[in-house]
Structures are given as structure tokens and as C-alpha cells.
Symmetry: C2
Subunit: 209 residues, 2 copies
Amino acid sequence: MTEDAPAAGAARPGGRTARTRAAVLDAVLGELEDAGYAGLTLDRVAERSRVHLATLYRRWRSVEGLVVDVLGEIATREVPIPDTGSLRDDLRALASEIAGLYARPRYRALVEGMVAAAVRSPEAAAALTEVFAERNRLAARIVERAAERGEVPPGTDAAAVVAAVGAPFYYRLLIMRGPVDDALAETAAAAAYAAALGGAFSPPGTQDP
Amino acid sequence: MTEDAPAAGAARPGGRTARTRAAVLDAVLGELEDAGYAGLTLDRVAERSRVHLATLYRRWRSVEGLVVDVLGEIATREVPIPDTGSLRDDLRALASEIAGLYARPRYRALVEGMVAAAVRSPEAAAALTEVFAERNRLAARIVERAAERGEVPPGTDAAAVVAAVGAPFYYRLLIMRGPVDDALAETAAAAAYAAALGGAFSPPGTQDP
């Protein structure tokens, strides 16, 4: 146990508060890796992070508060958006990034935990949706660039194409509860690409024959 | 409160046990409609179904046990699998059925609850996966018939096509937490159809040009 929470307003970037938060969020990911969301408790995070249990209660209040903060932290990191010059390859690279993320048990447990928390907590639901909306907004640039190159039918809904790449992963993770692998990534990217070219995400009558 | 659980082996189809179960499962769906999974408790189900709380504890043990049983019951009902003679229309009809189901708050809450329960309980996870695998197996007939008619490339993975129709709904429900509507159904069906014809679900080199 290293320190206690500072008073409101005492947070300094890179200071003790930031170090405490980094230690706690690392500990959360470590616990998710080892025991999954079902095994995540404030007690175990306190032990692993060496931060006082009282501090965890005061700053994060619950396991849900912790996973919301971890997800937000991960989302603020620079996420490389592919830009290969071809929609097909960009979607393939995007799908491969998603597959790489969820091949790691800690991130699989994190998204499972967030989805479960969102069912019970409006705050967790809002955090989950906000993080995905922001990431999808960034990834939509892939499709916007393809539209500028004339690769997709006019009026193609960029957000829908990006959602189509992601959806099969969450179906696999949350519903079928199977492995996320390269084959899934390949199929997800190829399906979204073919559907975009076929006009499934654009107004009727705009697709190329 | 109408009755107690019978001893093991005393269950008779259509008898008291079946009536108790039907009353309880109806009450679970009613509570899901009114209060969502977050508001579901054995106490409230007991009150609504007029079945003893002790009976609920003995037969279902927990809220998770109840939602697993409800999902299994719904899955055993006859699910019409579209057979219009055209893959495009069959997928559209399938997507429309899914949209109709999740437009009802009770079924939306049921799947949310099952997914949340699956994160914490291996039994719930197994039940969830089993129900979806069985429904997808039935729906795969749509694609198998299309293959017999030569509508899709040789070797098309029927289960993958069916999963592609469903995945956008669960992404919308669980991740983006937005409304399930006809526009989503139309896009999901059109995307799966275009992707199937484009060879996204078949071995490389088999798609038609």
C-alpha cells in the first residue's frame, strides 16, 4: 500500500495521482488476465496494485467503476488507423488489429466485463457506447478515403462499414463465446468489403453493377 | 402463492409442474419487460407468478437459472425458417424476424441478461451458446437451399452467412446499445447477401466474377 487519494483538485499530470491510477489500471488488467471479470474484486486489485482499498473505494467505488476507467484509458491511446491506399487492405488491417486485441485474455475479459456492467449500470453503458462511437468515428476515415478514391458507391455509410467489420468479433466473443482468430478477421474484412462494394451500406440504386 | 415444487420424478407434462413453470417463465418475461435484467429478482418473480419463493430457490436457484430456463423454453418453440425460393428474400425475412423479436423490450432484456450471466456463470454461457448454435443450425438450411439452387459460390459456409445476418443485431444491442429497427434488418440482410455472393464465406477462388 503506497499512498492515499489526494484531495479533489490535487491531481497533477505525471504526479502521484497519475502513478496511482496507472498502478491500479495495470492491476485491473492483470486480474482480468488471471481471473476474468467474474474474479475481479476491489480487494484483489488493492493487493496487486499496493494501493489502499479505501482509496479504491473512494475513487472508483466499484469493480464497474474500475473497468469503465480502464476502457477509457485504453481508448485515449493512439490507435493506428490503417491507410494502405486500398479499402480491401485497410479493412483487412483493421480486422487484424481487432483480432490481435481480443486474442489477449485481458482485453477479452475487459470487453466482457464492460458489456455485463452496461446491462446493470447506465454509467457503464454510456462509457461503453462513447468509447466505441469514438473509435468507430476514427476508423470511418478508412471508408471516407475510399469514397474519395471512388472505391465505394456514392453515399456509402462509413460508420456502417466499420460496424460491419467489428460486429462479427462481438458476436463471436459474447454470443457464440468462441475463439477470435485470423480466420474470423479475414472473413469479417472480406464480408464488409464485398457488402460495401455491393451497395449494402449505400442508398438503393447507387451500387455499381 | 399457489403450490410448491413436486418431488423429483413427479413432473407430468401439462400437469401442475408444467403450469408452475409456465407461470414462472411468464412472470420472468413480464419482469424483464417492466424492469429489465437489472431489476429482476426472485422476490418479484415469486410475487408476480404467485409461486412460493422457496419453490423458486429450489428449482431455479438464482436469477441466472431463471433466464437460462426462459431462453431454453423460447428456443424450443417452433421458429419459422423462411423459404421464399430466393436467398435474398430469405435473408431479408430472417433479419426481419430477428428485428421483430428485439424490438420487444422483454426479449432485448432477456438477451442482455443472458449475455451478462454468461460472463459470470459457465452454465449460463453453455446454455447461451447451445441455444444460438441450434437456432443457427436450423437457419443454415436457408443457405444450403441456396447452394442447391446454385445461388452462392461452391463451398459457402452456411453457418457463417447466418452469423453475418445476426451479428449486427447483437453489436447494436450490446455494444452500441441503440435501437433495433427495420433499417438495421435491411442492412444486415443486404450485407450478408452481398458478402455471400462475393465469396466472403467460401474458399478463395470460388466466387463468381
